[in-house]
Amino acid sequence: MIIIKDSSKNKDFKKKVTRRLFLGTSASAAALIGSTSNANSQTTAKKNPVASVPAPSESQLDRDVGTLKPPVSIERAAQRPGSDLMVQVLKDLNIEFIAANPASSFEGLQESIINYGSMPNTMPELITALHEESAVDMAHGYAKCEGAPMAVMLHGTVGLQHASMAIYQAYHDKTPVIIIVGRDDKFFRQEQTANDIAGLTRAFTKWDAQPTSLKDTLVAIQRAYKEAITPPMGPTVIVIDTEFQKEEAGELKIPIYTPPIFKTINKKQAKKIAQNLMEAKNPRMQVGKLRTPEGILNAIKLAELSGCSVRTAATNLSMSFPERHPQSGKGNDTNYDYVLGLESDGADVSIQGPSLLSNAENRDLAEIGFGFIRDPVIPPRRDLSGKNDITADAEASIPIIIEQFKRLQTQEALDKISVRILRHETANTENYEKELKKTLEKKRKGWDSSPVSLARLYSELWPLIRDLDWCLSSPTVFSSRHHVGLWDHNKPYSYLGMHGAGGIGYCIGASAGAGLAAKDRNRIVINIQCDGDLNFTPGSLWTAAHHKLPLLTIMHNNRGYHQEVMYLHYMAGVRGRGSDRMHIGTTLREPFIDYAKLAEAYGVQSEGPIEDPEQLAAAYKRGIKTVLSGEPYLIDVITEPR
């Protein structure tokens, strides 16, 4: 085992920019989209609708972006509140955002977040969530983009229960989230507190603690971060008593943070792998989901050093190898004589981090949990003997293999490798062109159909976003995955993959989280939003509007829970009772839901419903232009079911 420096600790975070600056920097990108006429637009949003609560004043908006600061001298109850130190720990850990729905059990901490420090409400910035499930979904989406966690705050027993499904999904998705739960034992609502609040979600969290002093609380936040980012990554919970948030810290110092230790392969194993990669005539690397963008860069280095062809998972999930890298593809020869798996199956060696089960054994106690977390039913398609498996973190192991490879390198080997790379590049390019033509041919089908075909929904969008920095945040299995083969998945966040555990209601929250990651980075987020899913947690639309998230939501509005339409259809057929009543309980009609109006109600500019496919491209242009200007946009498209 070796100690790997925690990259996020020293990460050169991009300078925070205000909303106004972002609007300015996005203007040039907007030029790409060109001018779009609003003549046919059914744009519905109007800013600052009439309401009993006045619109925020200029000075309030300035406070939002950290321009106005609170007074420096404190003359009230606490000179150095404990929660100020908690916020300092979060700042030191580079936690960029903390999402919450406000609650009394963390009022001390919330006050510190928005008032403490030289840049109040910055690192972390408080993100207003309209539901605790949404808060965790946001953290889930953010972490998939960044490879680093953000935090959430939840209220006692009730807030944690609201959030529990989203936590369950983040756990199954091995995604780090720092969850702070407020605990107020003296609160008159005793139902909202408990002796062991974290027990509610213990079966599907990586680690939890309920510290008994302020000092221990600070250590616990640091530990929660370390546990969350160490494989198997996952959500961690710290239950923080209100009294520690409010107590006077006095001279208490913040504990020194020590980065986590990642389990890696040993030098002997690395040397053997390097030797095999070197000696193989046609080596191959299969890359699954790594932890951070830095890991991807190292995987690219290893691929380029060894000249192997690479299978990527970039069209299935985030943090994998770039799809259009010259070596990404089948290569010029599919008879691979050595296959190395990095967080993926490899026929010869498979380096994969520990499974959820290894963690669950210590967490999922039969008395309070599920009787053990389960791994997916479908087994991996490979030799299950496990004789070639090495349980270690692949990302932390790659640099050791690279080091050993460089030691073994000879000029003769280098020459062979450069020839091999050239052959792979040629073959992969030819294959790409051939496959693209086939793909486009398939996309033609139903091109002029109304409702809009899903192939067209994806195809019309690609030329408009191709030259932008984009992230596809929503799971695409229900919209037939038409981005695959068509779009280029080259960035760690190009496609964020599935929900984690198939729980519906994830998309808009996770997309808002991806929007947080994209904000101030001149990136846009595309959310192909299933209609059924949006109705679980539509409040994240408001979060996107309020926090000016660059999020383009395109409704895949098939007016039903279509997977279930098909299942029920088959079941009725098998039972011979007819399939003409399958709409009961599975469709969203009488009345239809107007998603453009729903978005408008939450302050998101919108248009639709669009049934005529000819209107699609113009709507997309308007949407992208708006998103590039720093505002979210929603387009309601009536689509074919699949």
Partner: protein, 135 residues
């Protein structure tokens, strides 16, 4: 079993063939298409995930084959959820209704433009190159 399948089809064709030759009701066929959820997999216009528009071969080559196909679909009690096409017995869609349904499906057409006449697809093709930019 594979060898027997064509024989079963021929036998069924012989049995069903004479029944399904009366006049068809297109409107009824359209209604059946929606009511029985054909659109779920085949799309509202026969252009969905499993397109059937313009299909002139296989089961759509004759009314008789189409009806046989409906009757011989899978009817095994599924232990896991299935989105395979279910079985349609005569009690659910009778022969006359099957005939109407067939007639309606035959009217579904899909004549999409060629790639060069679809701006978005042409743009994708014209700009196809393996990008080497990545982070």
């Amino acid at each position: 079993m594979k060898k027997l399948t064509p024989l079963i089809f021929l036998l069924a064709l012989f049995l069903y063939g004479p029944i399904i030759n009366s006049a068809t009701n297109m409107e009824n066929g359209a209604s059946l298409y929606l009511d029985h959820g054909c659109y779920a997999c085949h799309g509202y216009n026969g252009t969905g995930r499993h397109p059937i528009a313009n299909n002139v071969s296989g089961i759509m080559s004759s009314e008789a084959l189409f009806t046989i196909f409906l009757r011989l679909r899978a009817d095994i009690n599924p232990m896991t959820p299935s989105n395979s096409m279910p079985n349609y017995s005569a009690a659910v869609i009778n022969d006359k209704q099957a005939q109407d349904l067939y007639a309606y499906i035959k009217t579904l057409t899909d004549n999409p433009p060629q790639i060069e006449n679809i701006p978005a697809l042409k743009d994708i093709l014209d700009n196809a190159n393996r990008k080497t930019e990545y982070e």
